[in-house]
Amino acid sequence: MYGFEALYFNVDGGYLEAIVRGYRAGLLTAADYNNLCQCESLDDVKMHLAATDYGPYLANEPSPLHTTTIVEKCTQKLVDDYNHMLTQATEPLSTFLEYISYGHMIDNVVLIVTGTLHERDVHELLEKCHPLGMFDSIATLAVAQNLRELYRLVLVDTPLAPYFSECISSEDLDDMNIEIMRNTLYKAYLEDFYRFCQKLGGATATIMCDLLAFEADRRAVDITINSIGTELTRDDRRKLYSNFGLLYPYGHEELAVCDDFDQVRGTMDKYPPYQSIFAKLSFGESQMLDKAFYEEEVKRLCQAFEQQFHYAVFFAYIRLREQETRNLMWISECVAQNQKSRIHDGIVLIF
């Protein structure tokens, strides 16, 4: 019943909603980013972060600090927050939180399979995996030779199993197949998540379906741009687009036949929300597209906090933390390489 969630949401979700809003209050503000941008070295960065929520995580790190350590500790904070909420959640919030981690699981699976293909050591790869997407049998992924083995040995026991029905084949894994596998899995995951949110109903459905539609559309544009000039056929490209979102189905028809960036821009100009994103880029420039999409995503995520009594705040918080981790990584790299003039090119301010 939309509009009456205030009456019964707090029974199971009231405490955790208040907790996640408390976490949100700890996200870095524009003033924090100003201070960080004026740092001379990574130790200055650590000192400025000591006053924020990251203080306890960075306090015991010895100097000299590396950028990877900072990023690792920030991710650790996100994972601790996530686990704290997941252990206290009841259904359906616990399923909702688990859905958020499946995206990272897919990324980890692809990372290990690609790394194995390029003959890297499994332990080195496991350290690079995102902690939110770890599952028990992940190390066994290094053994599989093709998708069918991958599925049979490892993935059938994970929550990703239902997403594999569309992409099982006996072909050997190579770079192209792996990218197609990643996108097919992600498509199935997004559609599943979308159906789940719609079933939840109420404000959760409205806000989450909007956020997921934006995600699907963004991925469609990214797939299109990344596959321009590759061997991916138009039909294959069409198959990788999700079947929901603002661009479905007519925008997908047009995107499938795009051959360069300006054609993509022409397609997107027909959709007002995306037209404003593409208007920020001058002709022929595609590097800033990622940043423009991130800015739009952050704007929508912040708006999710305007309503009370729904689950989208949890999704929004995790995404905003990830954006913050990306910002900190960019700032740390710029500071470490002494390129502070480029700091503002890469960060997206949240508040």
Binding site: N10, A18, I19, R21, G22
Partner: protein
């Protein structure tokens, strides 16, 4: 044994129900549904308050006002129930129409007070929950949202006033046989 009328039509069924049935149900509704409203409001506010206070412990003492406003709603229900039960008097069958009217007026008074307090408790509870979250982020917002809560808790008072007016004229004369 009471006075027995012959059944003429089923539409006269209400005439055979004692006014005390309705009074008793009214008194039960007045306290029962008010307490339901108060409890509902308290849990809505309380769960949010506990979670928000982990991050911002300073909000706990001020935000207990929201819980107190919800509790007041239950007290209104109890007070009206006590007032209603003092209006009950002994009377014999056959019931004088004025006694029937007294029974119905206690019943309606109970419904009025009960349901007004139910929605008042819900209203104050939901606002109290948002108030706790806003106060945790920005402490200047507390007093402004408290004004909204005060208007909300006035709804319970309206119910109490109308309920007491409804029941004030309840008299139970006996009818001469």
């Amino acid at each position: 044994m009471g006075f027995v009328l012959f059944w003429r039509e089923w539409t006269h069924a209400f005439l055979y129900m004692s006014p005390f049935v309705f009074s008793a149900i009214g008194i039960a509704l007045s306290v029962g549904v008010s307490v339901l409203g108060a409890a509902w409001g308290i849990y809505i506010t309380g769960s949010t308050l506990i979670g928000a206070a982990i991050r911002a412990p300073r909000i706990t003492s001020k935000n207990l006002i929201s819980v107190i406003f919800c509790e007041a709603v239950a007290i209104y229900g109890v007070i009206v129930a006590i007032i209603l039960q003092t209006k009950l008097e002994n009377t014999t069958q056959p019931f004088h129409p004025e006694s029937m009217r007294a029974g119905y007026s206690l019943f309606s008074s109970g419904i009025i007070v009960g349901f007004a307090n139910l929605v008042c408790g819900l209203c104050v509870g939901i606002i109290g929950s948002s108030c706790a979250l806003s106060d945790a982020q920005n402490s200047t917002l507390f007093v402004k949202i408290l004004v909204i809560e005060i208007f909300g808790s006035a709804l319970g008072l309206f119910g109490v006033i109308v309920g007491i007016i409804m029941s004030s004229q309840a008299t139970w004369p006996s009818s001469p046989i």
